[in-house]
């Protein structure tokens, strides 16, 4: 990156460290933090939308819809989530390829499951075998996001369902007495009030989501854990910057990163909770009212 770094064997001390920390691979490492943040930024709203849909379905008066909603929320209980993560990615991948296969190669006669192998016609490979590396990486990332959203959507559905139940019945009945339709009650009374009940659960979920991001590594995305292992490993003198096994320091750095994220989230969530409690019929809302008076 810098001109002085052209020949690393000639420099030493802080300058060496500066050059070492700005190599191309390290820049990739720093970008991978962005990958994690993008994952969080994309997954959180998607999971919330899935959760909202799940909670609405679980409250539906139509039996099949309700069963789907309840089944979705019940899915995550009792089974380690990492099993879901490993399972979903393969299942999704195979599901997509199978669907594409049915569309593009209707006259393919060989069975798709040949004993131990999953074989679709070459046109149905997603992404195409000839696609550039970046497309493959993007596809892997998209699969990971979808998996995260599905699993965390189920958790969020649980939380939102509970929050919808927690809104005082009197509020809903009053709204109905004023002649609002079911839809209006839902939109104007239930949804604005449920957030304060949902916030502790959703905040918890957000923390869990932050702490789940290293699982990206298991899903084959080149995330911060991948780079920490790659860069930290001992480098012989065949490399430009030889050093012993430094993985410990890289992981300490990751640990510090996660602790900062947690602390930051805690602060933001407590502010948000105070903001949402304003004017609500809860103990926190009452405390705010008294403090203001």
């Amino acid at each position: 990156m810098f001109a002085a770094c052209a020949d690393p064997s000639l420099i030493a001390g802080p300058e060496w460290l500066l050059c070492y920390l700005t190599t191309g691979k390290h820049v990739d490492f720093y970008w991978s933090f962005l990958t994690v943040l993008i994952l969080l930024a994309v997954t959180a709203p998607t999971a919330l939308a899935f959760g909202f849909g799940g909670a609405m379905a679980a409250r539906s008066p139509i039996l099949p819809v309700r069963l789907v909603g309840k089944g979705y929320t019940a899915m995550v209980r009792g089974v380690p989530d990492i099993v879901f993560f490993l399972f979903f990615v393969i299942a999704l991948d195979q599901g997509i390829e199978w669907t594409v296969h049915q569309i593009r190669c209707p006259d393919w006669i060989e069975p798709i499951r040949q004993g131990l192998e999953f074989r679709v016609c070459p046109q149905a490979k997603v992404p195409q075998g000839s696609a550039p590396q970046s497309v493959h990486e993007l596809y892997g990332f998209a699969l990971a996001v979808l998996t995260f959203a599905l699993v965390f959507g189920a958790f969020a559905a649980n939380v939102l369902y509970g929050a919808m139940q927690a809104v005082p019945k009197g509020q809903l009945e009053t709204a109905e007495a004023y002649g609002m339709s079911h839809r209006q009650v839902f939109r104007r009374v239930l949804v604005p009030q449920m957030w304060v009940y949902a916030l502790p659960g959703l905040g918890n979920l957000w923390m869990i989501l932050i702490k789940a991001t290293p699982l990206l590594f298991l899903l084959g995305v080149k995330d911060i854990v991948y780079w920490a292992r790659e860069l930290g490993g001992a480098k012989t003198s065949a490399y430009a910057f030889p050093h012993p096994d430094w993985r410990l320091y890289y992981f300490l750095f990751l640990m510090a990163f996660y602790l900062c994220m947690t602390k930051l989230s805690e602060i933001v969530l407590s502010r948000l909770s105070a903001r949402l409690s304003r004017g609500q019929a809860t103990a926190a809302g009452e405390a705010l009212r008294r403090a203001a008076a």
């Binding site: 380690p80 099993v83 490993l86 399972f87 992981f251």
Partner: protein, 275 residues
């Protein structure tokens, strides 16, 4: 191979007994059930030992967090924050890298050479991480319970002349446990779920002796079919969860036995997942 022979060959494969070679072709359902079940031994081992040891440490940390002196409170707060604030996954990696760096020939303490290489093996290293992790999570639960002991109970204890250690042992501690128990049950369940991370993070499986997920992943990789091994893991874990709820429910009833039925705390399973 009949199913009985498979069970005889692989039931303790995860501990290194029985058939050495894992099946390579013609996978049967029986093999998958047996090997994954064999891996469950490790999940049980990690879960039970970490839970038992973590319970003791969690009590101490909760008390330290509640202490007035900052000398006790600040380290306890940091301990809880570090282990609750970072992913268990990273903790495993970090612990492995740190333990590998220990000198190979042992450490000399007071002129005696102590062997330390066993610390970097999963059975010890991962157990330590899980133990500290569950201690931090449980300490937070116990601390919350300690804070919410009804004031009337404490005043009544004082009125009867119970102070200091006697008050703690007879009033505060049992009440804390009773209040914390439903949340602690969840913690125990999710600790068992977290044991699946051991062989997926830093700690390598020695001679293919892994846990349930390790073998499930082996089968999924070999057969390209995730629809059999992973549901088997899920099946085992649902059984384990039901068993845990049974045991913890029994303790919960005992902790609540002096209370009228309508105020007794019920255990509710809450999804609280990944750490």
């Amino acid at each position: 191979m009949t199913c009985a022979e498979t069970i005889a060959a692989y039931a303790f494969r995860s501990l290194g007994y029985g058939e050495r070679l894992l099946p390579r072709t013609d996978f049967t359902l029986c093999q998958q059930f047996t090997l994954i079940g064999s891996g469950m031994i490790w999940n049980l081992y990690f879960g039970m030992l970490a839970l038992a040891a973590g319970f003791l440490l969690a009590n101490a940390v909760a008390l330290a967090k509640n202490a007035r002196s900052p000398l006790a409170r600040v380290p306890a707060d940091w301990f809880v924050f570090i282990f609750r604030g970072s992913p268990l996954f990273i903790q495993f990696f970090l612990a492995y890298e740190a333990l590998v760096l220990l000198p190979r020939n042992g450490i000399v303490i007071l002129g005696m050479t102590t062997e330390v290489s066993w610390l970097s093996r999963a059975w010890a290293g991962a157990l330590i991480v899980l133990f500290l992790n569950t201690a931090a999570y449980s300490a937070q639960i116990f601390h919350g319970a300690l804070k919410s002991i009804p004031r009337g109970d404490l005043e009544a204890a004082e009125a009867y002349g119970l102070t200091g250690w006697a008050r703690f042992r007879r009033i505060e501690w049992p009440t804390m446990l009773r209040l914390a128990w439903p949340a602690y049950t969840n913690e125990a369940i999710f600790l068992f779920h977290a044991t699946t991370l051991v062989f997926f993070s830093g700690f390598p499986a020695f001679q293919q002796r892994g846990d349930a997920l390790y073998y499930a992943n082996y089968f999924a990789d070999k057969t390209f079919n995730p629809f059999i091994p992973y549901p088997i893991v899920a099946f085992y874990f649902i059984l384990l969860t039901l068993g845990l709820i049974g045991i913890f429910g029994f303790v919960n009833r005992r902790l609540n036995r002096h209370l009228p039925a309508n105020v007794q705390a019920r255990i509710r399973l809450r999804p609280q997942l990944i750490r």
